[in-house]
Amino acid sequence: MTINALNQNGFQREQMPCLTKMERMIVAMQDPDMGMKMRNQRLLITVIPHAMTGIDIVEWLIQKYSICEEEALHLGNLLVKFGYIYPLREPRNLCLKPDESPYRFQTPYYWTTTCWPATELDYAIYLAKKNIRKQGELIEYEKESYNALHKRINHTWDFVVMQAREQLRASKQRRKADRIVLECQEQAYWLVNRPPPGVMNVLEQGPERKNNLNTRVQLNAEFYKKEIEQNRRGIGRNRVKSSICLESFVKFCEQYQAHDPIMQGSLPSNPWITDDIMFWNMNSDTVAMPTKLRVERWSFSFMELLNDPLGRKELLRYLEKEFSAENLCFWQACEDVRHGETSKIPEKVDEVYKQFLAPGASRWVNIDSKTMEKTLEGIKRPHRFVLDDAQLHIYFLMKKDSYPRYLKSDLYKNLLAKAIVPQETKKSVFPFMRRQRHSSPSPALVPSGGEDDGKAKSSGAAPTKINSSS
């Protein structure tokens, strides 16, 4: 699935780039000069060469990459989980213990990136060897797998047993220390490739999805006819200059920056950091007095005003003074039709007609005759989008006329003046809390001088008011 996906022997094996990084690390660890100090480790009565302790690994990582102990432990754990280092004591527990526990490097033969298929046959041979070597050495899940494999690949079982015997015989001719090492390596390999139940399979690829280019879509004459039609429409479209588009992005980002909590923090405080939910309370839909940022945002675009329930309420108040409230009510009724239950559409459309469109209706909306005609015709067979044209007309009417006037009105200006600028939460003293109270000491952008006091104070002050209680 990534650009390096290999299609070997009919199945895809993903080259995880992190595996190559891990391997580079492993190679560095084994460097004769700068690598790890290795010694012989005693395992029961046998001496295993080229082993190291868990604490050595952690310390080497700390030193080499200038990281803290927690990170080194995390990294080391990953190396063990992916099978590059395996423990000699408690081999089934693939984790790094920062103590005197002995570990060894896995031989490159068994590295995951060699893309060994780890087939059922191989696993069967491995289990058979274990079974033959010492009866009863197989654990529960291994026994189950063994039996399942015996059933599944019964036709090659003779081969399996024969291979197992051969390999055992060959290994008997080795020195005991080497034999134990090989057994450990093989065991570690299979622990990664066939993890016991309950342990997460780090190598599992997830559901395979095949790229079925062209197998489901026929490139025939009809397809090309559609393409031609679409391309013809595409040629005729109006394209805006890229310079204008890019400018608009710059402006948009600038305008919304103060409202982007990740970039500039938030007042009174970010609930994720301080566990104080005041921010959400102050910005809920039904609050009595909105925050200044929120009221300012209504001036960015008409949609911002309409999307905020509080904004709509304020707009309605203004329109009522101007005796054009029916426009907003109509718009909302159309939204309800467009997003509401399908079965209720006919009755809703009927309501809308009676209230807003019928001649002499109590809240008649002023739509141009062409749109009105089209809408009235469409209402005879009501569907979800039948009021779209009328709604759009009223939307633009409000946007061009009522909206700008609302922004200049006393109603809006007074609200803006009265709107709350929350005080930054005084950091209460919780000495036992270990988490750092502030978001990154480097907020993404340093605010420019003339900003609202509240905001500048918070972003400027945050890094210095350290109340870390770790």
């Binding site: 990534t2 995880m16 997460m200 790229n211 079925n212 394209r239 992005f249 509401g340 993404a444």
Partner: protein, 340 residues
């Protein structure tokens, strides 16, 4: 055969004309336009919460519009609705099929949906009167796996599938309203525009398409990627689309200029993008990659300004809350982390 060859040639020549028209309006370089913009410093986000509870890989997550609740889907066969602030599990919904690849939260907060290799989109009602979460609808008609789904409202949902089509469903009746066909490869991901009138889909044919929901037609097609598009999202102003692909790049396509304007790539990044999400202002783009990390890009300067490192396996999904407060990453290591 002669006729088809002619048609193909005609389609090609029209396509060339479109390319020329696009080039004609491409009159600005990104560097010049943003030269006056202030630089974003290094962005360091910290993990504020870790949501533990899944037992296998997490494939998808989606925030609720209230910015506190979120739903996640994992291959352990569970859909979990979290109160992410308290890290409590509000609902743990067992699924019929454990091969789930996507999940979605309805804007109203009343329903969640999921789907995957079962080729179906299952809708669950969270607010049933008796308190139990049950399957409300099973939308079955796709002939391929369900890669993504998004609610338009409590009555309609759009799904994208490995059968190369996207479908608009009526939830009440459980029927297909519109089929959006045109992609040449598996549709991997979709996103709905802020005004709910259009949506975009990214597919394995390396293109992204903008569809008109009402007309059922493809309005625009964007190419340029060299491999599958895995993730797609709207830029917050609704005028641009950002995509993440297996070719290790992310791209920004402007809908009005009808072309790609910015590419986010780095020679040191060689693995595919799995997920993408913009911050509230659009200035930062967070993208999850196959190499267990999430990169934070300055969307205007096209530079990497931060990294979210902390997962032990691939970052499969990412989402920013509606209020822009925090971002959540879900990973194959079975954890969800909330950052800001």
């Amino acid at each position: 055969m002669g006729e088809m060859e002619q048609l193909r040639k005609e389609a090609e020549s029209l396509k060339d004309e479109i390319t020329a028209a696009r080039k004609a309006v491409n009159d600005a370089s990104l560097q010049d336009t943003v030269s006056g913009t202030a630089v974003v410093g290094r962005v360091q986000l910290k993990t504020r919460k870790t949501l533990r509870g899944h037992l296998a890989k997490i494939y998808a997550m989606h925030w609720s519009t209230d910015s506190k609740l979120c739903v996640s889907a994992s291959q352990d066969g569970k859909l979990i609705v979290w109160d992410s602030h308290t890290t409590n599990k509000v609902n743990a919904i067992p699924l019929k099929s454990s091969w789930v690849m996507t999940c979605a939260y309805a804007p109203s907060g009343n329903m969640v949906a999921c789907g995957g290799l079962d080729n179906m989109c299952s809708i669950y009602n969270l607010k049933a009167k008796d308190g139990n979460v049950k399957v409300m609808r099973e939308l079955a008609a796709h002939t391929g796996y369900l890669s993504c789904c998004r609610f338009l409202s409590d009555s309609e949902i759009i799904t994208s599938s490995g059968d190369c089509t996207c479908v608009l469903w009526d939830i009440e009746t459980g029927t297909q309203k519109t089929v959006f066909a045109g992609h040449l490869g598996d549709c991997m991901s979709l996103a709905v525009s802020p005004d709910f009138k259009t949506f975009i889909s990214g597919a394995c044919d390396s293109t992204a398409k903008l569809w008109d929901i009402r007309e059922g037609q493809c309005r625009q097609t964007f190419g340029g990627h060299e491999s599958d598009i895995n993730a797609i999202a709207f830029f917050p102003n609704g005028n641009a689309v950002i995509t993440g692909s297996d070719d290790a790049t992310c791209k920004l396509y402007d809908l009005r200029a009808d072309q790609e304007l910015i590419t986010y790539q780095d020679s040191s990044i060689m693995c595919g993008v799995t997920s993408i999400a913009p911050s509230l202002s659009g200035r930062l783009i967070l993208a999850g990659y196959d190499d267990f990390n999430c990169n934070i890009w300055d969307s205007l300067k096209s530079e990497r300004v931060g990294v979210l490192a902390g997962h032990d396996n691939r970052v499969s999904c990412i989402g920013v809350t509606a209020d822009g407060m925090a971002c959540c990453t879900g990973s194959w290591d079975s954890f969800l982390k909330i950052w800001n």
